[in-house]
């Protein structure tokens, strides 16, 4: 007991040190502990997010949380003492949740996870209660035991784009569960990321880094990017699409592609064949699979990208400082909160599982890690 107490006290001191240092580094810093770690942080409204458990064997919870008042205040932030998340709604899932997407403008959620590639449709807050209820299941025409990637669109009737492999992607209308579009792209690679760019166009990225821009009205692929000419290793890729304006037809939009070895390539969506810029970021070691890999664009800042999933920290880069893949890019800011702030059993270094940007507060990010921590931070 004595030793434990001593360790706790010195751990306290280390935390105090970091906290004092953080005063110079951050404007705002909040640290929370979820009961179960999450690998999804999905916005369901301007002030609410959904998180969900992904443990195997047993039930997982889906929670809709409202942001602390202090984070939502646009002015007079000093007069808001409220710093806590509030659990507004919750639901139980029999399967772990690996992917969770909200359908904008509705109270619907779509999720996927092992053991198979079916989707679960949820409704938040049925009958004015605090329950998130399972409404329905959508099956892929090709059933298999991988878990589906998802993208949702609310333009017109709520639809979901989903699939495990590029060839079995389909767009299904949620209410009728009927397929409204089958891309039919002949590639057997696994899908890594999906994103709707407008009500008619979506972008998809395979685990090998191949990308396709599909126009559903024209019913064809209008742009594509090939696999990168890099040393052949077992790379995994994922992508993040820049979302600056709600109406994307007007403003050019960029996409960043991240590899499991730390390469990032940026392209203009309308000109996928070319890379606008690229770099290699420093990572402790390549990840074996793209479980937690994440790359995203800041919605309220220019040219800022966040990268996570390789360690317990999140790196923010400004792409204007990138030159080539020969020199490693230097992050503008590194958030180490997940490795320092929580009391934990020694030896377990948490891994960041997910991150997302605040929709309008510049430099504000929400992140989660394998130890159940959830942090909200705004660097200076």
């Amino acid at each position: 007991m004595e030793e434990e107490e001593e360790d706790r006290l010195s751990n306290d001191e280390l935390m105090d040190d970091w906290l004092i240092e953080s005063i110079k580094l951050y404007n705002n810093l909040h640290a929370f502990e979820l009961q179960d770690p999450t690998k999804v942080i999905e916005w369901t409204g301007e002030k609410s997010i959904c998180v969900a458990g992904f443990k195997s064997g047993g039930r997982s919870e889906i929670l809709e949380l409202t942001l602390p008042q202090k984070l939502c205040a646009k002015e007079d932030q000093g007069l808001c003492p409220e710093r806590d998340f509030k659990m507004e709604h919750g639901g139980f899932s029999e399967r772990p949740i690996y992917c969770l997407k909200h359908v904008q403008g509705t109270r619907l959620l779509v999720s996927s996870g092992p053991p198979d590639n079916s989707l679960q449709i949820w409704q938040i807050g049925v009958d004015d209660s605090d329950v998130i209820r399972l409404l329905n299941c959508i099956n892929n025409e090709e059933q298999n035991n991988h878990w589906s990637k998802i993208a949702t669109s609310a333009a017109g009737s709520p639809c979901v784009l989903h699939g495990t492999h590029v060839k079995n992607l389909q767009v299904t209308e949620i209410e009728s569960t009927k397929n409204v579009f089958l891309p039919g792209i002949a590639s057997v690679d696994l899908v890594s990321s999906l994103e709707f760019l407008s009500k008619d166009a979506f972008l998809l990225c395979s685990v090998r880094g191949q990308m396709w821009l599909m126009d559903m009205r024209q019913q064809k692929v209008v742009a594509a990017q090939d696999v990168c000419a890099l040393p052949a290793e077992d790379f995994y890729w994922c992508m993040g699409v820049e979302r600056r304006q709600p109406d994307l037809d007007a403003v050019p939009c960029r996409v960043a592609k991240l590899s499991s070895t730390g390469y990032i390539f940026v392209s203009d969506v309308r000109n996928l064949a070319k890379h606008m810029c690229q770099t290699k970021v420093s990572i402790p070691s390549p990840v074996a699979e793209n479980k937690f890999m994440n790359v995203s664009w800041a919605p309220a800042l220019d040219n800022n990208i966040a990268v996570s999933g390789f360690s317990g920290s999140i790196e923010i880069y400004n792409i204007t400082s990138w030159h080539s893949t020969d020199t490693e890019a230097c992050p503008m800011f590194v958030h180490k909160g997940h490795t320092v702030l929580e009391d934990r059993d020694k030896g377990e270094i948490p891994l960041v599982t997910a991150h997302t940007w605040h929709p309008w507060k510049p430099r504000t990010v929400l992140s989660a890690a394998t130890d159940g921590s959830l942090q909200v931070w705004e660097w200076r």
Partner: protein
């Protein structure tokens, strides 16, 4: 059964007052004041208990969990204005601190706001005379059936969770508690007391709290920024509570950062604080207790006593001053002097009652009317920080896990249905979860244990030698329950019969078993005898002179069937008590003959 409780959604505003009826006893848990209301709605509605007059005969005792006004603010009103003369229980620190806060509060409400329907100073004194202070983990007999016990709750100095027990039924009321230790208090703790119900606030179950460290960081950051730009920081505090904790924090920070700006403490504060913390040192956390021997945690290197003349000193400084809501005294004086400078800052670490300057500026008011029609323009930065240590969703799960109740009751003020929460708790712990709204009554059926004495001889007979009882594998035992006078005893049947002066009836059964055996009756009998001898090694098997075989008390006789000489009839006779043996016996006989045939 919850009586009346209301909490503002997620805020520190609310009022707790719960009535529990258990084993015929009525207990009131907390008696708080609702700080949000100015009229009678701030007091609990005691008409639930009785329409007219005094509460003494309706309540067996009143328990107060800690000194926050939303838990004890209506106590003098209840005991002196409505009328209650029975016992009131609280911990020692609570008893010492309550009257101070009540008096402060009374002063603001009556003197400042000119209210009339409010308790007086004398009423507070009279009320406290009815209070009995209790120690942690001390079982207090309220009467010969009702007992209570206090457990450490963290949260604030002296806060306790209470277990109320009548016979085999018990309830645990958590009050406000905290599951993570902080700089000066430990974490709540309770043993596996397995109460029938745990009563707690539902706010806990739905909040996910920002860490204490991040709150502290914010505080330090604000103070640091102000001091760096040459400004002054005013922190209005109550004599007890937040002040000590924030002082320890600043002291640590100043030391680490090697800062030079002076920090001051209203003189009254240090003495009182030191006095109370010394008195109640066992209520603080391990770290403070350890260092207290070497160095008094409340004697600071960087924090000095304040003198009024310092107010006009140039340059940065930090001042902790009473009272906490900027409603009078030193803190208000300092505020008036510093408010006009935008480099300065005032940090309010707690809720401010309506009518106070603190309340007004927290609501954004920038122009205040002072005495003599003077207007004060508030240019200084105003910060509202919440430091209260409350448990959250994770914490309430931890507490339920510790206490292992059979039912959980969450009290809340919101009308919204909390189905998810209920399911979550019910499934995680296999308990029932109730969430009544204000004014609702919940009835919970309990399964009380009935203790029964067992006679030693019966226990010896029924227990398996060497094997301990396994709760997962219950064994059926045979005995007789005698309920006589006030005792319940389990004895063997023989003893029961003896005590009752009755004679045991014996029932003897007979059956006929036909077996195929062409040999003589004697041979058949001998064969059965040999077979049984090998198979039933432990039983006594004898040949009786009249040709009967006796296995223990079972008799077997062999005769030949009249219709068919190769068929033998076994006449088996046994008493009711040896059913099992008979079964085994018959099985053996049949087996032996089947073997023969094959």
């Amino acid at each position: 059964m919850p009586f009346s409780s209301s909490t503002g959604a997620g805020q520190d505003v609310g009022r707790s007052c719960i009535l529990v009826s258990i084993g015929g006893k009525n207990v009131m848990l907390d008696c708080g004041m609702h700080m949000g209301f100015n009229d009678d709605r701030r007091f609990p509605d005691f008409s639930y208990i009785t329409q007219n007059g005094r509460l003494t005969e309706f309540l067996d005792c009143v328990i107060v969990s800690h000194f926050h006004l939303d838990h004890c603010g209506a106590l003098p009103y209840m005991s002196e204005m409505v009328g209650y003369d029975g016992p009131i229980y609280m911990t020692h620190p609570t008893k010492a601190i309550c009257p101070i806060l009540l008096e402060d509060f009374r002063k603001i409400t009556v003197d400042k706001k000119g209210e009339t329907n409010f308790f007086t100073s004398q009423m507070i004194k009279d009320c406290m005379k009815k209070v009995t202070a209790v120690n942690l983990h001390q079982t207090v007999q309220v009467d010969d059936e009702l007992e209570i016990k206090a457990y450490y709750a963290g949260h604030v100095l002296g806060a306790a969770m209470f277990q109320i027990k009548v016979g085999a039924e018990s309830v645990v009321y958590t009050g406000d508690y905290n599951m993570t230790p902080d700089r000066h208090l430990g974490a709540a703790w309770i043993d596996k007391c397995r109460p029938d119900i745990v009563i707690s606030e539902s706010t806990y179950a739905t909040t996910i709290r920002d860490s204490k460290r991040c709150r502290e960081r914010d505080f330090l950051k604000k103070v640091h920024e102000t001091v760096e730009r040459g400004g002054k920081v005013l922190i209005p505090v109550f004599a007890l509570g937040r002040a000590q904790e924030l002082c320890i924090l600043l002291e640590t920070f100043w030391e680490r950062m090697n800062l030079k700006a002076p920090i001051y403490f209203s003189t009254g504060l240090t003495e009182k604080a030191n006095h109370y913390y010394k008195l109640f040192i066992t209520w603080t956390n391990q770290k403070i207790r350890k260092t207290f021997v070497q160095r008094n945690m409340f004697e600071f290197k960087h924090i000095k006593p304040f003198d009024r003349s310092y107010t006009d000193n140039p340059g940065p400084m930090v001042v902790f001053a009473t009272p906490g809501m900027l409603h009078a005294g030193q803190s208000l004086q300092i505020f008036k002097k510093w408010a006009g400078n935008d480099k300065n800052m005032v940090i309010l670490p707690g809720y401010c009652v309506q009518g106070t300057v603190g309340y007004k500026i927290l609501n954004g008011q920038r122009k205040l009317e002072m005495e003599g029609r003077n207007t004060l323009e508030v240019k200084m930065q105003v910060e509202y920080m919440s430091f209260s240590a409350h448990a959250d969703a994770k914490g309430i799960m931890q507490l339920i896990r510790m206490a292992e109740p059979r039912n959980v009751l969450l009290v809340h003020g919101e009308a919204k249905k909390m189905e998810f929460l209920k399911q979550k708790i019910e499934q995680e712990f296999s308990v029932n979860c109730y969430m009544p709204a204000n004014g609702e009554t919940t009835t919970i059926t309990t399964n009380p244990n009935i203790p029964v004495d067992i006679s030693l001889s019966l226990l010896k007979r029924e227990s398996v030698p060497g094997a301990l009882p396994d709760p997962k594998k219950p064994r059926i035992m045979h005995g007789t329950l005698i309920m006589k006078d006030n005792s319940l005893r389990l004895v063997s049947s023989e003893q029961a019969l003896k005590e009752l002066g009755l004679v045991e009836h014996h029932l003897r059964f007979t059956c006929r078993v036909h077996i195929q055996d062409p040999h003589s009756e004697q041979d058949t009998l001998n064969k059965i005898y040999s077979h049984l001898k090998t198979v039933l090694k432990d039983s006594s098997i004898q040949h009786l002179p009249d040709g009967t075989l006796m296995v223990e008390s079972i008799l077997i006789k062999v005769s030949t069937a009249s219709e068919d000489p190769s068929t033998k009839i076994l006449l088996v006779s046994w008493t009711y008590q040896v059913q099992d043996l008979r079964r085994i016996l018959l099985k053996c006989i049949i087996q032996s003959h089947l073997a023969e045939i094959s």
